[in-house]
């Protein structure tokens, strides 16, 4: 049944995509980072009222490091959100923003984490 449904559902629901810039600062707790997220649409306009969770996976060993996704909180600044993330180790991580509003979508950003924080690498 699932296969039949998948075969028949051909109309995509794709619309304007979201983009994000992320910077994370190390906290006093080991491997815990405070992440600031700037959310915009493709025209660069800040996106407010988004609901999303921030998760992470290690590109060098996909599927092996399962980080519990955390809910991002909105701030007073337009298009700005924050989330506290706990990782397993330093190195390159692919942060995954899983949106439930304004629509279901996902944005992936790669950051390199060290003892100071996480910055977008490539």
């Amino acid at each position: 049944m699932i296969w039949l449904w998948l075969m028949l559902s051909s109309a995509a629901l794709g619309q304007t995509r979201l983009d994000a810039a992320i910077e994370c600062a190390a906290t006093a707790r080991l491997m815990v980072y405070d992440c600031a997220i700037a959310l915009a649409d493709r025209q660069g306009r800040p996106v407010d009222g988004a609901k999303f969770k921030l998760g992470a996976d290690m590109p060098s060993m996909p599927m092996a490091h399962n980080v519990r996704p955390v809910e991002a909180d909105s701030t007073d600044a337009p298009g700005r959100y924050r989330a506290r993330l706990e990782l397993e180790m330093e190195g390159e991580w692919a942060l995954r923003l899983e949106f439930s509003a304004p629509r279901r979508d996902v944005v992936v950003k790669r950051l390199i984490f060290d003892d100071k924080g996480g910055r977008e690498g490539r």
Partner: protein
Amino acid sequence: MDEFLIGVLSNIGLMSLLALSAWLLLVVGEISFGQQAFFALGAYAAGIATALYGWPLPLGLFAGVVVGALAGFAVAIPTMRLTGLAFAIATLAFAELMRLLLQLWVFQREVDGERLGPNAVEGFRGVRWVYDHDLSALGYLGVIWGIVVVVLAALFLCERSRIGLACRAVGADAELAEAQGLPAARLKILVATVAGGLAALGGGLYVHLATYVEPQHFSIMLGVHALAYGLIGGLGTALGPILGVVLDIGLLEALQEIARYRMIVFGGAVAVLLILRPRGLLDEALVRRLTRGKP
């Protein structure tokens, strides 16, 4: 169901397909460090089919399987003359060659005003079929495990068939099997082709879950883990590699206190198991005892 749990179970299912592909080659007596290459080919092929050309997911996955199986066949033809360490090194060389080629490969198209497709080291982003078609995480977990169950059922049936028995005979002693009239080389090529397709199926499912892949995903780490899962779980049954995946990703993930040291624990567990149970927890002897109900 908790989102985190859905994510972990999805990863276990996807890794199981890759582990099963490495296990298939172990059954015929070959060690492959290169199954991640077929996983990559499946991911790129299925992603291109759905994201760039708008194919439905099942067709995209099928395209990935075909590409992976053809690559498995193409690699098997020259490498089946090799055995043991030489075969293992050849598969590793192929996987690294594929990864380096993907680091150079650019193939993009404009889709809905956005440039999509493989973009060298930047990887392949925007494989959003699951999101564009509003398939929930739980629904996609059902798709993944539905496929894993079908694959397992097929492998169980195959194990009880003449081909399955012949594969076991080739794995035990290829020369002896040939002396008894079994086409060892042809069987190995067939298994390598199926294993390539199976790994590619996992890759196709993975890219649609992650929505992006990059060449770095397909490093030797992934191949070593896929192989280790079979060796930990056991070579006696297709449930072996799945047990290996569950022990690593599932059990160690549940023990959050040691999650940070998981790679060390995992490496140690592989070393100890290879000494104590060289053919894994569910090895052939244990499976025989369990299925016959004798001590």
